[in-house]
C-alpha cells in the first residue's frame, strides 16, 4: 500500500466523528458508523503488515510546520502493532459502549461517541508519528479529546477528576516533554525518528543523556510513572467504556509506546546500553511496578484497583524499554498487546457488573459468579493472563521481559517481575474467588443475571483473545522481528 494512506487513516476517525455527530438522532446508525469506521481503520492498517514485516518503513510528509520540523507520518513495527490494537479494540468497545451507555441511560451519548472517535484519531496519529513534533501534536490532541470523556458526568467529582487529569498530563508534557524535544533539536539538529537513534554521535555524556531520558519519560505523563501516576486513578470517574478502551488501551498504551519509540528511535538501544543512561528510570519503573501493586491491594473500589494495576503493568513496558536490550523491547512491545487484551476484558467485566447490579466495590461481589458466570469466567481468564500463567498470552511478554533482563544482566529485575506476579495473584484472583466461592450477601436479589448481550459478547471475545495469543504468538514475533531472537 502507498504511504499516502497513512495521513488518510489518521484522518478517518476524525472525519467520521462529524458523521457520528450529525447522526446523533439515530443511535443505531451512530454506533454503526463508529463500528464500520473502526473496522475500516483496522483493515487499512492491516494492509501495511506485509510491507512492514518485510522491512519497509512507509513515510509520508504533509507539509513543513517549522523549518526542519514537518508533519510526517512514518510506519514502523511497534507503531503498527499499537495502531492495530487501538483500532481493533475500538470496534469491540463501541459495541460494548452501546450496551453500557443505553443500559445505564447516560446523557450526551453523541458527544461521547464523537470524542471517542477523535481520541482514536489522536492515538493513530501518535502511532504513525514520524518525528517528535508530529508526536507531540497528537499527544496533546489525545489529552484534550479525552478530557470531555473523563468529565462526562459533569458533576463536582468528575470536574475534580478532570482537573487532576488535565493538570498532570499538561504539566508533564509542557513542562518536561517540550523542553526535552527542544534540547534534542539543539543537540542533534534533528527530531526525526531514526533507526539506531539520534544521540549516538551527539557527544552527550551519560549524565546528560540520563537527565534528558528522565525528562522525556516523565514528560510522557501517559506512561504513568510514579510520582506522576495520579491522573490515571482520577480518570476513573469516566464511564466504564472510557476506562476500558482509553485508560487501559489507547491513552496509556500511547504513553508506553512513546517510551519504547523514544528508546529505540531517539536514544538508540545501543547508546543507552553503553552509557547506562536509562538505568535510573529503570529503577523508578521497578518502584512503580511494586508500589502500584501494593496500592491496588488496598483499593476496594473495583475500577480503582484495576487502575492501579494498570499503573503497575505499564511500568513492565517501561522496564522493557529501560533495560536497553532488544529482547526487552520485544517483551515490552508484546506486553502492549497482551496487557491491552487482558485489561480491557477486566474493565468490560467491571462495567458489565455495574450495569447489571450497580455494585462498584470488590467486597460487594460475593456470590455473584452464579448470576453472571460468563462475566466472571472472563475476568478469571484475563486475570490469569495478567499474572502470566499459561495457557494465557500474558506469559509470552513476561517471558521475553525476563529473558531481556537476564540478557542485560539485571537479575534483580527478574525478581521484581516474579514478586509482582505474586502481588497480582493476591489482588486480582480475590475477585473471581469471592464471586464463585463466597455466599451472596443477604440483600442480593435472586433474579440478577448477565448484563445486556452488547456488553457480554465483547468481553467474551477479548477474553478468548487472551487464550488465542498464547497458542499463536507468531504474528507478534514476526512483526517485531528486528528485536526477536535469531
Amino acid at each position: 500500500m502507498t504511504a499516502l494512506w497513512l495521513p488518510l487513516l489518521v484522518a478517518l476517525p476524525a472525519v467520521m466523528s462529524l458523521v457520528v455527530a450529525v447522526s446523533g438522532r439515530w443511535p443505531n446508525l451512530r454506533e454503526g458508523v463508529s463500528v464500520a469506521t473502526a473496522l475500516a481503520l483496522l483493515a487499512g492498517i492491516a494492509g501495511f503488515i506485509g510491507d512492514v514485516t518485510a522491512g519497509a518503513r512507509p513515510s509520508f510528509t504533509l507539509f513543513e510546520i517549522l523549518p526542519g520540523a514537518s508533519l510526517t507520518f512514518t510506519l514502523e513495527p511497534i507503531g503498527l502493532l499499537f495502531a492495530m490494537i487501538a483500532s481493533g479494540l475500538w470496534s469491540l468497545t463501541t459495541v460494548y459502549a452501546a450496551g453500557y451507555m443505553r443500559g445505564n441511560a447516560e446523557h450526551a451519548q453523541t458527544r461521547f461517541f464523537v470524542c471517542f472517535a477523535l481520541a482514536i484519531s489522536a492515538a493513530i496519529g501518535i502511532a504513525f508519528a514520524g518525528n517528535l513534533m508530529t508526536l507531540f501534536i497528537f499527544y496533546e490532541m489525545l489529552t484534550l479529546s479525552t478530557y470531555p470523556l473523563v468529565t462526562h458526568h459533569g458533576d463536582a467529582e468528575s470536574r475534580d477528576g478532570g482537573r487532576v487529569y488535565l493538570g498532570i498530563l499538561l504539566t508533564t508534557s509542557i513542562g518536561f516533554f517540550l523542553p526535552a524535544t527542544v534540547a534534542t533539536w539543539l543537540l542533534t539538529g534533528s527530531i526525526t525518528f531514526t533507526d539506531g537513534g539520534l544521540m549516538a554521535g551527539s557527544g552527550l555524556g551519560a549524565l546528560g543523556a540520563g537527565l534528558l531520558y528522565a525528562l522525556f519519560l516523565y514528560g510522557t505523563g501517559k506512561a504513568a510513572l510514579m510520582p506522576f501516576h495520579r491522573w490515571l486513578p482520577a480518570a476513573m470517574v469516566a464511564p466504564t467504556p472510557v476506562s476500558a478502551l482509553l485508560h487501559a488501551v489507547a491513552v496509556v498504551k500511547a504513553g508506553v509506546f512513546i517510551v519504547l519509540k523514544l528508546t529505540v528511535y531517539v536514544f538508540g538501544v545501543d547508546f543507552l546500553a553503553e552509557t547506562g543512561a536509562s538505568q535510573p528510570m529503570m529503577w523508578i519503573a521497578t518502584i512503580t511496578v511494586l508500589g502500584a501493586s501494593l496500592i491496588a491491594m488496598t483499593k476496594d473500589n473495583l475500577k480503582a484497583r484495576l487502575a492501579y494495576s494498570t499503573v503497575s503493568q505499564l511500568s513492565y513496558i517501561v522496564l522493557g524499554a529501560t533495560m536497553a536490550s532488544s529482547l526487552g523491547i520485544l517483551g515490552g512491545s508484546m506486553h502492549i498487546a497482551m496487557h491491552a487484551f487482558a485489561k480491557i476484558t477486566l474493565f468490560f467485566c467491571a462495567g458489565a457488573i455495574y450495569t447489571a447490579t450497580h455494585r462498584k466495590n470488590v467486597s460487594d461481589l460475593d456470590g455473584l459468579g452464579y448470576a453472571m458466570p460468563i462475566t466472571f469466567s472472563a475476568f478469571f481468564i484475563a486475570s490469569l493472563s495478567l499474572i502470566g500463567i499459561p495457557p494465557m498470552g500474558g506469559i509470552w511478554s513476561k517471558w521475553y521481559l525476563m529473558e531481556g533482563a537476564a540478557d542485560a544482566g539485571h537479575i534483580a529485575i527478574i525478581l521484581v517481575l516474579s514478586l509482582s506476579s505474586l502481588l497480582n495473584i493476591v489482588y486480582l484472583l480475590e475477585i473471581p474467588t469471592r464471586a464463585f466461592f463466597h455466599n451472596p450477601r443477604p440483600d442480593t436479589p435472586r433474579n440478577w443475571q448477565e448484563a445486556p448481550w452488547a456488553c457480554v459478547i465483547p468481553l467474551s471475545i477479548t477474553a478468548a483473545g487472551c487464550i488465542v495469543w498464547f497458542l499463536y504468538p507468531l504474528p507478534f514475533t514476526a512483526l517485531l522481528s528486528p528485536w526477536a531472537p535469531q
Binding site: F63, E64, I65, L66, P67, L71, M133, F136, I137, Y139, E140, M141, L144, T151, G154, R159, R163, L166, G167, L170, T171, I174, G175, L178, P179, V182, A183, W185, L186
Partner: protein, 496 residues
Amino acid sequence: MITQFLSQMPVLLVVLPLLAAPVCVIVHRAAPSWFIYALTSWACFAIAFLLFVQVRIGGPISYVLGGWPPPFGIELRLDALNMLVVLLVTGIAAIASIYARASIAAEIPRERAYLFYAALLLCLCGLLGISITGDAFNLFVFLEISSLSSYSLIAMGAKRRALLSAFQYLIMGTIGGTFLLIGIGFLYMMTGSLNMADIADRLPAVSDTRTVEAGLAFIVIGLSLKFALFPLHIWLPNAYTYAPSAVSAFIAATATKVAVYALIRFLFTVFGAAYAFGQLPLGEVLMVLAVVAMLSGSVAAIFQTDVKRLLAWSSVAQMGYIVLGLSMASATGLTAALAHIVNHGIIKGALFMVAGALFWRMRAISINDVAGLGRRMPLTAAAFVVAGLALIGVPATGGFISKWLLLEAVMEDAHYGLAAAILVSSLLSVIYIGRVVEALYFRDPADNDGKTAEAPVSMVAATWVLVGASVALGLYASPLVETAERAAAGLLGSGA
C-alpha cells in the same frame, strides 16, 4: 496609472485612515461611519498585503515624503520587520471592522458611534505610522496620535470607571511619550539628525557620551510604558477592562505590539545590538523584568474575577515573553519575539472578542456571569477554548510555535532557568484559562431562561477567523517563521 498607485502605496497606509477619520465626523451617523471604517481598514489590509509581497520579492522600500530626500525630509521605510507588524495591525483592524458593528451598537450610544469610528481610524493611522516611518521624531508624532485616540476610545466604555481608567492611561501614556521625546531630543543633540538610518550612522562617533546613554534610557523607559513592561504596567489592566469590547480586542492585539516594535527598531536599528546589549547591560535588565512580568502577570491573572481583567493580566505576562526574546539579542531570540508579536496579537484579539461576545449576551463579564454559557453559546465558548489553548501554547496553535522558538533561544544560550520560567508561566496560564473554561462548561447559568442565544453571526465569524488564523499559524508556521528570521537577520546585520 497603476505603477503610480503602486509607488504611492506606502504613504496611503497612513493617509487613508487619516483622511477617513474626518469624513466619519462629517457624515455624523453610525452606519455610514462604520462603513467608512470597514472600507478603509480592508483597503489598508489589501495595500499592506501588496507591500508585503513587494518587500518579500524586491527587498526594503524607501518612500520619500513630499520629495524631500532623507535625512532632511521624512522617509517611510518598509522592510521585513515592519511589514510583519503592518500586516498584523491592518489584519486585526479589518477583522475588527466585521466584529465592531454589532458590538459597538450594543455598547456605545448610537449618536456617538461616529466619534468612535473616527477615533478608531486615527488610532489605526497612528499605529501604522509608527510602524512604517523611518524618522525618529515622526515616530513620536504618530505615537501621540495613536495614544490620544486610544484614550478617547477607552473613555467611551459603558461604565463610569472607563473615564478613570482612560485618565490613568493618559497620565502614564503622556509620561511615556514625554520620555520618548526627551530621548529623541538627546539623540538629535548629539547627532543633529532625526532620520533613523542617519542617526545610526552618526552615533558610533559619540556613543560613549552620557547624553547618548541617557537618551537610550529615556527611549527604553518611555516605550516600555507604552507596552506595559513590568513594573510600568499598572495602567493596562484597567484600560483593557473598562474599554468597549471591540476596543479591548483591537488595542490588546495591536497597540502594545507596535510599541514593542518601536523599541526593537530603536535598539537594533538606531543604537545597534552591539551598543545596547554589548556595551550597556540592557539585555540583563530587560531579561529580569521580562521574567518578573511573565510570572507575576500570570499569577495575578489567576486571581481575577473579571474575564477581561484576567485577559489583561495575561497580556502583561505575554509581553514578558516578547521582551525576553528580544533581550537575548540573538537571531533565534529575535525570531521568537517577532513571531510572538504576531501570534499573541491574533490570540489575544480572539480572546477579547470572545469576552466581548459574552458581554454582549450577559451585559456583564465576571466569571460568575459567564457561568454555564458553554451550552447557550457553543460557538463562542468553543472559540474561547481553542484560543485559550493557543495562549497556553498547546501544539498545533500559534502559541506553541512562539514557545518552541523562545525555548530554543534560551536553551541555545544555556539559560536553563529562563526555560523553566517560560514553562512555569505556561502552566500558570493553564490555571487561569481553566478557571474560565470550567465556569463556561461545568457551572449552571446565573439566570435560568435556558434558551440558546449565540452572539450575532458577525461577531462569532470575526472571532473564528482569528481563532482559525491562530491554528493555521500553528500548523503551517514556516512562512511566518521565515519572515521573522529574515527580519531578525536584517536587524542584527545592520546593528553589528
